[in-house]
């Protein structure tokens, strides 16, 4: 499934914070959206899943999912689409799961919203958990009883159970330890390889994006200042802002104090 963004404008009141001429995520593609804090990358991903307006922003322009225009959807239509076609995972996995329900009940509620029976929902939840290499035993736990890495896997498992075709991932590993980050990134790669899902990976971490993404878009002050195939773009950045970002990454094997 492909996501095509054109002439997207997002703002709060008088202020325009995002102006994107074009951004595409092709079928089965992983695209990195990179920028520093305040660059507009998070509000962009919220707009793509229809949550920017509820955060107080206005949204103009065109967002198409396989040719279907999303900017004109009402809240009920969005609710149907979210999870079903397009899902999102966040930086803080534990706080993005409703704390008063057991993990299994979260699955059942989400799946029943999309038409599954209770029995089907339980079955699909268990299968999705195994797919992200978690024990279905964890379905009996509450979100706070999971580690950060487990909670992020659960969030991904929900997207899998709902058979979402497009995954928006907003800094999904920046709150996790490096060893756990490696597991989550591997899982996202596997989801793409085996399920063919498309991913927009929002991150400030160029080294992670370099290894994960097919293409990258660099965002500064609400605009995409450079975009292209990841390896070529990061090896020989042409925009001064990208050059500065690449140069600023602390690297192992660099200079010593």
């Amino acid at each position: 499934m492909s996501l095509i963004v054109r002439e997207l404008r997002i703002g709060f009141g008088e202020r325009t914070v995002v102006e994107i001429d074009e951004l595409q995520v092709g079928d089965g593609e992983i695209v990195g959206l990179v920028g520093e804090s305040g660059s507009g990358k998070s509000v962009t991903s919220l707009a793509l899943i229809g949550l920017a307006r509820s955060a107080g922003a206005w949204v103009e322009g065109s967002i198409q999912l396989d040719g279907r225009e999303l900017t004109s959807l009402d809240e009920a239509q969005w609710r149907q689409l979210r999870g079903d076609r397009i899902a999102m995972i966040f930086q803080s996995p534990v706080s993005s799961l409703n704390p008063v329900f057991r993990v299994g009940d979260l699955f059942v509620r989400a799946l029943r919203l999309h038409g599954a029976t209770k029995a089907e929902a339980r079955d699909r939840a268990a299968r999705a958990m195994r797919e992200v290499v978690l024990s279905p035993e964890l379905l009996r736990r509450y979100p706070h009883q999971l580690s950060g890495g487990q909670a992020q896997r659960v969030a991904i498992a929900m997207a899998v159970a709902l058979r979402a075709r497009v995954l928006l991932a907003d800094e999904p590993t920046s709150a996790l330890d490096v060893t756990v980050q490696a597991e989550i990134l591997e899982l996202i790669q596997r989801m793409r390889r085996e399920e063919g899902i498309s991913v927009l990976f929002v991150s400030h971490d160029l080294a992670v994006v370099a290894g994960l993404c097919d293409r990258v878009a660099i965002m500064q002050s609400g605009q995409i200042v450079e975009t292209g195939p990841t390896a070529a773009t990061l090896r020989a950045p042409t925009h001064p802002y990208t050059q500065g970002l690449v140069a600023a990454i602390p690297r192992l094997g660099g200079t010593h104090a």
């Binding site: 520093e36 060893t179 602390p250």
Partner: protein, 318 residues
């Protein structure tokens, strides 16, 4: 020189820091403290600053027992060792002007006249790369990077000899981080500072520290010279941490160790705390806790360190 001996901190039944011995020599010198979240890094920082009660062991500074210090000795210690936290927003009073915040410690530690204090504030602001005019501003009128510079200036105001830096750049954007790291490197030379730098970023530690100490669930598992530890890690956990760092010009690292399923390894009473996740685990590891011992210029707590140190750097297993 700061010396931790068998430092132990318990929170109720949980041992957050288990008999950690570590030395931070006089400056200019940096010791990096790395490990996963929950490994006890910040608890060690807090114990050094006397912000948590310790359950055992000692902290000595220039031979003085820090944990029992009172009166003048305690004041002298608090001047000598200052801390910079991860989030400057939580440590700067939003209603206090920058200049007042920096001068506060100076005035608490000595009789400094108002004029002398404001002159020194101006010098300090310049030293950390800000303008003397910033003294009149309130914290919210500065950017995150500028606020972290203020926190560093405030720590420097009492002329410390050592800093405890607890993730000083992890809340900052990478371009801002790069400049703050340069500042720390410059200050350590100019002021002959030593520091304990807590970070989850190995590249940051490599840039600023001569030594690395690796913590796992409250246990010190390896400590030694930075370059040697990163090039030839002797503990499988050090190797896993090193291997998990994504690098710009390389493919993503494959997960090197099993997820922390139990998350209560600290409760392991016999055997190695890393055994459940270790790719090199053997029976002995579950029966006998490895002691920290000397090996090729570092200290390491692993029964199989001699084999581990010979493995190629990327390889997670034997």
């Amino acid at each position: 020189m700061l010396e931790l001996r068998e430092l132990t901190v318990r929170y109720g039944p949980e041992t957050a820091v288990d008999a950690v011995s570590l030395t931070v020599p006089d400056g200019p010198f940096g010791v990096g403290l790395v490990g996963e979240s929950g490994s006890g890094k910040t608890t060690i920082a807090r114990a050094i600053m006397r912000l948590v009660a310790t359950s055992g062991g000692s902290v000595r500074y220039d031979g003085e027992d820090v944990l029992r210090a009172r009166g003048a000795a305690l004041r002298a210690y608090r001047r000598a060792v200052q801390i910079v936290f991860q989030d400057p927003d939580l440590t700067l009073d939003p209603r206090m002007r920058i200049g007042t915040a920096i001068a506060e410690g100076m005035r608490a530690h000595g009789r400094v006249s108002r004029d002398a204090a404001s002159a020194r504030v101006a010098t300090l602001l310049t030293e950390v790369g800000l303008e003397p005019d910033h003294a009149q501003r309130l914290p919210h009128q500065l950017s995150g990077g500028q606020r972290q510079r203020v926190a560093i200036a405030r720590a420097l105001a009492v002329e410390p000899r050592m800093l405890v830096l607890d993730e000083p750049t992890s809340a900052l954007d990478v371009t801002v981080q790069a400049r703050v790291l340069e500042l720390i490197a410059a200050l350590r030379q100019e002021r002959s500072l030593s520091y304990l730098l807590i970070s989850h970023n190995l590249a940051v530690v490599e840039q600023l520290c001569e030594q690395i100490a690796v913590l796992y669930h409250g246990h010190l598992v390896e400590v030694g010279p930075t370059a040697e530890l990163l090039e030839r890690p002797a503990h499988p956990y050090t190797r896993a941490l090193r291997a998990a760092v994504p690098e710009l010009d390389e493919a993503l690292p494959a997960p090197a160790i099993r997820p922390d399923a139990a998350a209560d390894a600290a409760a392991v009473t016999v055997g190695c705390p890393f055994a459940d996740r270790c790719p090199m685990v053997v029976d002995r590891c579950r029966q006998e806790r490895p002691a920290l011992r000397e090996l090729e210029g570092r200290r390491v707590a692993c029964h199989r360190a001699e084999e581990s140190i010979e493995l190629p750097r990327e390889s997670p297993r034997g």
